[in-house]
Symmetry: D2
Subunit: 342 residues, 4 copies
């Protein structure tokens, strides 16, 4: 099978011809229909994440049809279209059995390898998913729009739940990219809150307005902290930071009202300094939100089916064009999400 | 009436003879039986908290008997023993009506004055409580032991709820003083978790052992982060920091397991630097916990009645000895809690 | 002032000229702009509810402007438009301080009197609200549409929260009248669930379709239990019964899937027989839902402002026409809600 | 291997010599050390439960050592002592992935067979557990005391969580048998509530007193409804009915305070008639509670280790004496729990 492989960190992916994988007892091999292109694919391939191992096949937003199944797989059949839940877990720890599988200490990713953990992903014609409990049926749905639900949508929905908003709350979303544009739809259509969208790119802010943001702020031109304090009269009830660097996290923290939730999602890196006594007086909550759970992915699929959320897929690439997809993403030229079609 | 008044920040309290207060329509005047002595009384009187106004009468852990009632007071009668819930709120904002009154933007304290808000407290023979909704009956209970429930106990119980522990969790308590020694009892007897108590004072650690701590660590002698990682195999499920300065908050943050809760309670001040991407990977939760609610105070009184928590009152002072009580507290010479008996 | 008074149960209301009320210290007198007409007004006036005392002025869905305020009222001014939260409570019991004020044992109603409790309502030119904590600002909003939020909307929103639905759940609503037509809007626009609406009146089912119901069932013509089992594949995740008689509650109970929630709202009366062991095997939850809280009313006002819920006011009456409004309601001739305009 | 087999409903179990089972890929074969004897074993073998299939080997409270493992088992090794979580589920439905696996529509039991579902249980020398995700380590613990945690303890803890008690609540437990005596310990030591224990057997009431019940009531001699209303002043905050027949469920329902929770656990059968409008006024919650989750079992093991709950094992039988164990249980002669030691 053809695959785009990261053989050396920071170098372009390499087109290789690899043997077709065979399913484990519990596993399935999928014929990849679509694979989304995510910033974390890029970050790992570029070598920005310490501990990344090569070689590996990127891609963790995978939709495909079942090509071959192991003997212990139950509830699926060959040819069915499925989406991959990209967090692989032990299934038996206290987090896993509580439905908080994204907190499993033994989790490993699909689409990158780090400190010896992880398996090959969806930048390939076929992919092996070692546990059928990690696939969900998406029969009859458009694979191009469904694929970005697997990570971008999942992470956005989880972050929104962590923000614990009520319908009369003011929510600020920082960053209206691949994740943010879905979070915005969910914030307006599912959570029904008032939304302030913050970005530094006018195109993304214009998309935000189209998707229903109540207010849009270009933080290069206007102080978002002052704006939020003025609009709300007391500060934000919740902020979700999809960028999450030193600057954005500072903005997020400073605009919180008493009891406000500050959800950390992006992985650009940086440092936030918090005055410890101020945390007490404000009763703030700072919440790291990582990916999401299978339950979130189920809900998302249901929400997508009914038009409540719809990933915007702006660019489509062939498998062989994966490096071009990476370059465009790196240059900030992707609105919404881009996908590969192997 | 006699009262110990803070007339000038950083100076000793002054004994004054003041007119007896008259109750408002909704208010009660209490004959103070006991008033606890809290670090925040000291901090305000010493001028450590920016914005403190003088003159004011300190004291917010107040138990007394009803001396006079306003005409609109319902459900109470003269002579009854009550405890004061020390957070005065608007009663109509979205936080107040949700039972999250400690988050009311318009709250004001009893026992200190800051930026024009606040009313005189319990370092006096009589105190005016302007709203009967802020008193709870404690008939038949020992006023000396009950008084510290009003703030120290309240704050400890609230912090424990914020820590969201399960019975098989590992909880770390930093600081076994006025608040910590009650949190420890509640952690063991109410939450039934495994507790690591951390302090730098051997007497307090010895008290912690007596109160049931599973492990005690003197952080001057042993690295608490390494210890917790070794005992738990994965880091703490939750940490409550009753000191909350730059050093302790760093320790707290570093010992968290994935999904771990870090509860900020102390008001010593300091700064914690958090790497933003690390927050995401660890799914950590940093939670500022301020005082507590009337509901918490009700539960505490019930728990105290049944011996599940018992404030340790190690020193008793006359009203006129308030300055001595402050000095001892400042020098770290108080085990558990000290009280004034006006 | 003019008022329509229930002087004798089962007899028409009587137009009387009564003295203008004076506000208590905490109270406000409102100039009534609009008062909704609810089934429970009718039931009490007709004598269907055991223990009802006469004379009383009906009406608990009240919007008006502040005419006079007591000296202790805070945060309001004369002339402001407000809505009345119709559940008056003690404010100090464990339910009240938890934000569960609808569970207060000492609660009393406005708009009817029962077993010695209750105060006069809004079928009058003026009404006395004895506690300013029971009014909420609705400045600038249409009083005709806002009034039905006070009870019909409040009860509907509370019931939906009790149903604890997830976005991919199937929810059945029984009865699309004054409460049901608002619940349906909230179910679709706020909860985003799939809704089956059940009624026996084709006009109401047609309204349900217009308001977005996914399926409508006339239970006189089709078996709703069989229909729900077929559509869902497993039974309803939740059912809210706005009728709640022996027939509808049986239907509701029988269509539950495992873990399903059955919310009791209507007060028509009847009896449901439940097999005790079947309750265990199915892990069903039967939940009585009474009115709602101030927090719910705040959220509703916010949702109404943004068009997420909009009470349908089909009939408007003058104060003197209250008996006609009652008669039409009794004959099932009111779609949505009717109102009085004193 | 030797096994006690139910070959014909209502007849004594038959001692048979059966082939040793072989593990599936994900499965383990256990050498049974101890198997608890539960009312549901008896009910199925006696033919009281419609749909029971023969032949089957009873027994679902199983502790044993791993004798042989399938090739895909992870995290366990031969010789380890484990307990079996007796609810086998699909692992992929929305309930399973939410940590609510006891609600899985496709669940099947170990220790009985019904309508074609179910597998052989622990009344045998060896037992096959087809999924390693259903075993938990209990190394170093006393297997005799641990076995009853698998069902009696699990069901008791789950029921207590469903009762949603606060520490100052009044909880009524009906039935102080195999489940009730553990629920009582958990109610006192874990939940810290005030407990009224109700039974008709003086020995069980005497055990209840010993285990810390605040009040014990023999419902043959005293009216428990009147008693609870008198003690609480308002009715029970929660009632858990471990008998759950027509009489006990009526008592439970009648003693509820407003907002009270009525948890259905026992499977004796019967019918409860509830007035539908009364449900609304009282805001009652009727909750069917079935078994529990793996998370509950983990917590229980932790609580047992620390002495917070301790099953009382009053009678021990050899495998061949299973019929005698059944007879004693049927005659109500077992205090706490009885076990088999194959």
């Amino acid at each position: 099978m053809k695959a785009m492989v990261c053989t050396s960190l920071g170098k372009p992916l390499e087109l290789q011809d690899l043997p077709l994988p065979k399913p484990s007892n519990d596993g399935v091999v999928l014929r990849v229909e679509v694979c989304g292109v995510c910033h974390s694919d890029l970050f790992h391939a570029r070598g920005h994440i310490k501990g990344t191992n090569t070689p590996f096949i990127p891609g963790h937003e995978i939709v495909g049809t079942i090509y071959e199944m192991g003997p212990d797989v139950q509830g699926f059949s060959v040819g069915e279209r499925v989406i991959v839940y990209p967090v692989f877990t032990c299934g038996i720890c206290k987090e896993c059995v509580s439905g908080l599988e994204h907190l499993c200490d033994k989790w490993y990713p699909i689409g990158w390898k780090i400190e010896g953990r992880g398996i090959d992903g969806g930048f390939a014609e076929y992919v092996h998913v070692p546990n059928f409990r990690n696939i969900l049926k998406v029969e009859g749905l458009n694979p191009e729009e469904v694929a970005p639900l697997a990570c971008a949508g999942l992470t956005a929905l989880h972050a929104l739940y962590e923000a614990q908003v009520h319908p009369d709350d003011l929510l600020v979303l920082i960053g209206v990219g691949g994740l943010g544009h879905m979070a915005l739809q969910l914030a307006k259509n599912l959570m029904n809150v008032t939304v302030v969208a913050v970005d530094i790119d006018e195109k993304k802010l214009s998309l935000a307005s189209k998707l229903g943001a109540d207010y849009v702020i270009n933080s290069l031109k206007e102080d978002p902290v002052a704006f939020v304090r003025k609009v709300s009269g007391r500060g934000a009830d919740a902020v979700i930071d999809f960028v999450n660097n030193s600057e954005t996290s500072k903005i997020a923290f400073q605009m919180l009202g008493r009891g406000g939730r500050h959800v950390f999602v992006g992985v650009y890196g940086g440092v936030l300094s918090i005055p410890t006594a101020f945390m007490v007086g404000g009763s703030f909550r700072l919440i790291g939100s990582f990916m999401g759970t299978r339950r979130h992915l189920m809900e998302l699929i249901s929400l997508y089916k009914r038009g409540i959320v719809k990933p915007m897929v702006s660019s489509k690439f062939k498998l062989e064009e994966a490096n071009e997809a990476f370059n465009k993403l790196e240059r900030g030229e992707i609105e919404g999400r881009s996908i590969l079609k192997p």
